[in-house]
């Protein structure tokens, strides 16, 4: 069988590996527009920030049996003959074609937009880093996830960064207004000037102009205004396209020989812009085309957003905007909130029918692991959800003083010695720790109860003095 994958990004590369893992006999050809070996796009923000090198984010080259055509783009699909035409001029036959064409950055239709660098690829990243070396300040346009990461990264490189956002608060897709505000304050503390509710009207050689006419001088303007699915190939081939290429639960387009995965695909009304869904989709397609799991289906993904920005912990998942106002359109939900703006901390849980349907953890995220899993699994929440906001709330109160400790409390686990036995030992005449140890073998195992045993003996001595 011949599988052709149009797109060598994270979805396409992953699919090639998944197919080979299941069936070494399938011939897989990946066409990718970028000439670099595959890299982890998720980590580009880290490269921009200088916390990872380009080398460190390279993904394994597809293994044996995969033909990787770097720098060659699929330009047309002939569904009748089941062939694709490429930018190199070849015609490649396929039994299965998978469109993994990804998305492209949205460039606002404003004068001078070409002077800015849209942040999408490793090449973009290189250009931004090169430009950053020659300018004291930068403007980042767009306060979504990527824009915030880019602004934080550039600030970390010592630049004066202004982050421009036309929405009322940062990351409005993932955050409610208060979280957006706390995030803004955190960025401000890290040296980023945040301007919300502003519109950029033009990019000039030396800066960005706002719709108010204000000019923000800068040697570097980075665009992070979102992405749009690359669907031209599918549209030209006559496949149904909405915002993305429409696929069913098999990740199949209207043509049973053609699948689409990743950021170019639209499943059940949703176009996913994160890597986790793309990889889940790749696994489903690999299961189906190799026949490994014929009943494999994609049922949609739950989204968890983690900001990758040094010194800012942020996790957001699900329906974070809902409130428990009776009039809220989200239906009956419970909201649990903790806010401590002075420390940059904001935590919110959105609960419906005893299950977590949304959460924000900002500032610190001590319970992020638990919350993510509760959200991912749609699991029941405990009766009192407060423990989900703070670590250690549920720790049992230790019996810290000999007085409060019951006689049945085990002091030495290794030798099963209770407080009662030590007391009995004392009453039989043992007057120091050594005598108690000799009689009970307490402390002779792991040795960690030595302080407790000595403390008890001391307490018993004091009790006796009091009585005397």
């Amino acid at each position: 069988m011949r599988v052709v994958i149009a797109g060598g990004g994270m979805a396409g590369t992953r699919l090639a590996a998944e197919i080979r893992q299941r069936d070494a006999d399938v011939a897989v050809t990946v066409f990718g527009t970028e000439t670099r070996r595959p890299y982890n796009r998720v980590l580009l923000s880290n490269v921009l920030a200088g916390t990872a090198s380009a080398d460190q984010v390279c993904l394994p080259a597809p293994g044996g049996g995969v033909t990787a055509r770097l720098g060659v783009t699929v330009t047309a699909v002939d569904r009748a003959s089941r062939t694709v035409r490429t930018s190199a001029g070849d015609v490649e036959p396929y039994d299965v074609l998978v469109l993994a064409t990804g998305s492209e950055p949205v460039v606002p239709p404003i004068p001078g937009a070409a002077r800015a660098i849209a942040f999408r690829t490793m090449d973009d990243c290189d250009r931004i880093i090169a430009a950053a070396a020659n300018t004291p300040g930068a403007v980042v346009v767009g306060g979504g996830l990527l824009g915030v990461e880019a602004a934080r990264g550039l600030a970390g490189r010592g630049l004066h960064v202004t982050l421009l956002h036309h929405g009322a608060h940062l990351m409005e897709r993932q955050l409610d207004a208060e979280a957006g505000l706390v995030l803004e304050e955190a960025l401000t503390a890290l040296g980023v000037t945040v301007r919300t509710g502003v519109r950029v009207s033009a990019i000039h050689p030396h800066g960005a102009e706002l719709s108010t006419g204000e000019l923000l001088e800068s040697g570097l303007v980075v665009l992070a205004c979102g992405v749009r699915p690359v669907v031209g190939l599918a549209r030209d081939a006559g496949l149904p396209v909405d915002r993305g290429i429409i696929v069913d639960d098999h990740m199949r387009t209207a043509d049973p020989a053609i699948y689409a995965i990743g950021e170019c695909a639209q499943h059940d009304g949703t176009v996913y812009g994160l890597v986790a869904p793309a990889w889940e989709q790749a696994a489903v397609v690999a299961d189906l085309v190799t026949g490994a799991v014929p009943e494999a289906r994609y049922r949609g993904s739950r989204l968890v957003t983690r900001l990758k920005a040094r010194s800012i912990e942020l996790a957001a998942m699900g329906e974070t905007h809902l409130t428990d106002d009776p009039g809220d359109a989200g239906g009956a939900v419970e909201v649990v909130c903790f806010s401590h703006r002075a420390r940059g901390i904001y935590r919110k849980l959105v609960i419906r029918n005893d299950r977590l349907v949304g959460a924000i953890l900002l500032g610190e995220a001590p319970t992020v692991g638990t919350l993510t899993q509760l959200y991912d699994r749609g699991a029941h929440l405990p009766g009192d959800p407060a423990g989900l906001l703070f670590n250690g709330l549920d720790a049992a109160t230790p019996a810290d003083s000999p007085l409060r400790m019951p006689d049945s409390a085990r002091v030495c686990e290794c030798n099963n010695v209770t407080k009662g036995r030590i007391r009995a030992c004392w009453e039989k005449g043992a007057r120091d720790a050594a005598a108690v140890v000799a009689a009970t073998r307490a402390t002779t195992g792991c040795g960690t109860c030595r302080d407790a045993v000595e403390g008890l003996v001391e307490w018993l001595s004091q009790q006796e003095e009091v009585r005397a």
Binding site: V42, L43, K308, T444, G447
Partner: protein
């Protein structure tokens, strides 16, 4: 109990015992604890009212005077009334076990073995050994299978214990020595990461070796985790993703050691590329361990002067255990730890002779000296020592669970000889194991008490234990130790070596199966010579005189406390980075079985409860099985402390008392495996490399059992498995 007509045989060597004199009192034989791989040194004094008395030795650094309750009370094993003192046999399957003479018992075994092999070929008879057997027994059992029985069908319960760590260490370092450094090195480290080890319960005196800079990765807040500076509360079945995430951080945050990687390893580039897909946020989502904690763990390890990474069964007993250990080894290699004095990677061996027991040929794919049975040079060497044609040596056989699973099936063995193991309690999916044992034509069990497995046997052979015999054990640090006889065995029992020797003679192999430990050891030395685990330079005298760490290739060789300082045991001397990837548990939770079950040990019991369930003080401390449940889950199940809970997996169910604890995750329950029950539930999905079953994670559901909420808990805790009786066996 009838006590000795026989006297203590003098140990057949001339050596001056370390002067065990304290307050002018002779403290008895200097020997080692009958339980775990720490092999705490102890004296056993026979003549005391109420039985032999145990006192700790200070000259063995592993415990240096410490003992846990199991060790202190070990003397009771020598006197308790459940001891078998006569061979037992049943006339037919419907009849009860009755005492028979040794002559009759052995003749019946030999006759039945002959009959089965005549009908089904040599592989019709299988052997199942144990990690508690001495080196001599493990060696002779392997030889007995290959030479006297000519069967390939031999494996042992250590497959359930050390096989993943062994496979990963071998492929990374060319050698499988649990700790490739003395245990005392650990206390000198600045930071130690324990992945899936609960030493506070499993080997308490080991806690004394741990430094303040302790990191523990465990789904439960165990007593070990409670002592840690940092506890990574990993989701069951995701240790591999955790290791990958840690390595990703180590590389991107600059903690990797390029000079070490360049000088001492191969394969780094490929591993680096493979962990590029395991950025910390992804690992967090899979493992449930917050990114900040992962970063902190890597920072602690990466900035420590000396650091160690140590794995235990929690990380290893999975269908991906070998890859999980490899991922932790990759992390250790990237940080430049292995083969550096005071740093390194190690695993914590479990059973008393879990190290030596995995080196001398009771493993399906192995010959003595930790050689591969499919290696022509190894076969030629061992065949020469055994005086047989290499072509007559069988090839690799089935692994432990596969062997048990095949018993009595078409093409599977029809007879099984069990030494030092209680698989009907300790194997995964014990319902199936009991069914297969019942389908055999012949089941023979050698044990000290009537274990659950022995109770199913056609013939039971009572054997000597621990302080009643001589032999060597190899502890968790690869140090060979002398087990000395302290008391005479009860009359009527024979040593495993004598049993093997007698059976070999009855099967027409009178030569080459000595029944005396020292003679066996001398042959083991020759058979292991030139192998990875080379014991050829070790003598009883040298072991008695001081620390002997294998390999010891000559009698004038000082032994090898730290084998990797100059080079690794690979052909080119370099350690191997190997790319591995995470995958979910073989059985993940779903709507029908919504909780993870993980299993493990409690302090006062050991393995299948064989020995410990018969010691009164230990039974007082840990009297019954239980399931540990988070209060949030208990509330949802309407279960209170002590209520009887029915725990069900796709393979079986058990009813045990609930023990509420906030130390467990709310999505997970824990059951100790010392009682029949827990392993009815566990999943026999096997690791593709090590054939380790997935003991540490499977999916279960829970229901309140025994009536409506508030009703008193029912009487029966665990219903017996088919054919099993309430006996106990030594085991693993």
């Amino acid at each position: 109990m009838k006590r000795p007509e026989s006297t203590i045989e003098p140990m057949p060597l001339s050596l001056s015992l370390p002067a065990p004199v304290m307050s002018q009192v002779h403290l008895g034989a200097a020997t080692h604890c009958p339980y775990c791989a720490l092999q705490c040194g102890m004296y056993v004094t026979p003549a005391h009212e109420g039985g032999p008395v145990v006192t700790p030795r200070h000259d063995i650094p592993a415990n240096a005077g410490a003992l846990c309750q199991k060790g202190w009370t070990a003397g009771e094993l020598l006197t308790n009334g459940a001891r078998l003192t006569s061979p037992l046999a049943r006339a037919d399957r419907a009849s009860p076990l009755e005492p028979v003479s040794w002559e009759e018992a052995l003749a019946r075994v030999a006759g039945a073995v002959r009959a089965v092999q005549a009908a089904h070929g040599p592989d019709g008879v299988a052997v199942f050994g144990g990690g508690g057997l001495t080196n001599e027994k493990a060696y002779l059992l392997g030889k007995f299978a290959r030479v006297a029985l000519a069967t390939s069908q031999i494996d042992y319960n250590g497959r359930f214990c050390m096989s993943s760590a062994a496979a990963a260490s071998t492929r990374a370092f060319g050698m499988d020595r649990g700790l490739p450094f003395p245990v005392t090195d650990i206390a000198e480290a600045d930071v130690v990461l324990l992945a899936g080890c609960n030493v506070a319960e499993t080997m308490p005196p080991f806690m004394r070796h741990l430094p303040a800079g302790l990191i523990v990765a465990d789904p439960r807040e165990t007593r070990t985790a409670a002592r840690a500076r940092l506890h990574l509360r990993v989701t069951p079945g995701t240790d591999l993703a955790l290791a990958l995430g840690l390595l990703h951080i180590a590389i991107t945050e600059g903690y990797a050691d390029p000079a070490y990687i360049e000088a001492r390893t191969t394969g780094f580039q490929e591993v680096r590329a493979s962990v590029a897909s395991w950025w910390p946020e992804r690992a967090e989502r899979v493992t449930g361990v917050p990114v900040a904690q992962m970063r902190e763990a890597v920072r602690l390890l990466g900035t420590a002067g000396r650091a160690m990474i140590i794995t235990g069964r929690g990380a290893e007993q999975h269908a991906k255990g070998t890859d999980t250990v490899t991922a932790f080894i990759n992390l250790a290699l990237a940080l430049g730890l292995p083969g550096r004095a005071g740093s390194g990677y190690g695993c914590l061996t479990g059973q008393g002779n879990g190290q030596g027991g995995r080196e001398h040929g009771q493993k399906a794919d192995q010959l003595p000296g930790n050689r591969r049975i499919d290696d022509p040079a190894a076969r030629a060497h061992v065949a020469a020592v055994w005086g047989v044609d290499p072509r007559d040596l069988p090839g690799p056989g089935r692994s432990a669970y596969e062997l048990l699973d095949a018993l009595g099936t078409d093409g599977g063995p029809r007879a099984l000889l069990v030494f030092g193991s209680n698989p009907v309690v300790s194997a995964p999916r014990t319902g199936r194991v009991a069914e297969r044992l019942a389908a055999l034509d012949l089941l023979v069990v050698s044990d000290i008490v009537l274990s659950e497995t022995a109770a199913m046997a056609d013939i039971v052979l009572p054997t000597t234990q621990w302080a009643e015999e001589h032999g060597t054990m190899t502890n968790l640090e690869g140090r060979v130790l002398l087990r000395r006889q302290a008391v005479a065995p009860p009359s009527g029992v024979r040593s495993d070596l004598a049993i093997i020797s007698a059976l070999a003679a009855l099967l027409g192999r009178g030569e080459g199966f000595p029944g005396e430990a020292r003679e066996v050891f001398d042959e083991l030395r020759r058979a292991s010579a030139g192998g990875v685990a080379d014991y050829s330079g070790i003598t009883y005298e040298r072991v008695a005189a001081g620390a002997m760490y294998w390999p010891v290739p000559a009698e004038d060789h000082p032994g090898t406390p730290r084998p990797f300082l100059d080079r690794f045991a690979t052909p080119d001397g370099r350690a191997r980075f190997l790319p591995v990837d995470h995958r979910p548990p073989a059985e993940d939770v779903d709507e029908e079985y919504p909780y993870y079950l993980t299993t493990g040990r409690v302090l006062a019991q050991y393995q299948s409860g064989a020995q410990t369930r018969r010691v009164a003080a230990l039974n007082d401390a840990a009297p019954e099985p239980f399931v540990e449940v988070h209060p949030d889950l208990a509330e949802r199940l309407r279960v209170a402390q002590g209520d009887l809970v029915r725990v069900t997996s796709r393979r079986g169910h058990a009813e045990v008392a609930a023990r509420l604890s906030r130390a467990i995750r709310a999505d997970t329950v824990f059951m100790p495996f010392h009682w029949e029950g827990a392993n009815r539930l566990t999943n026999p999905a096997l690791d593709p490399v090590s054939r380790m079953p997935e003991f540490k994670v499977c999916a279960v559901r829970l229901e309140r059992a025994g009536g409506p909420p508030g009703a008193p808990p029912g009487e029966p805790r665990v219903a017996p498995a088919p054919g099993a009786r309430a006996g106990r066996g030594r085991e693993a």
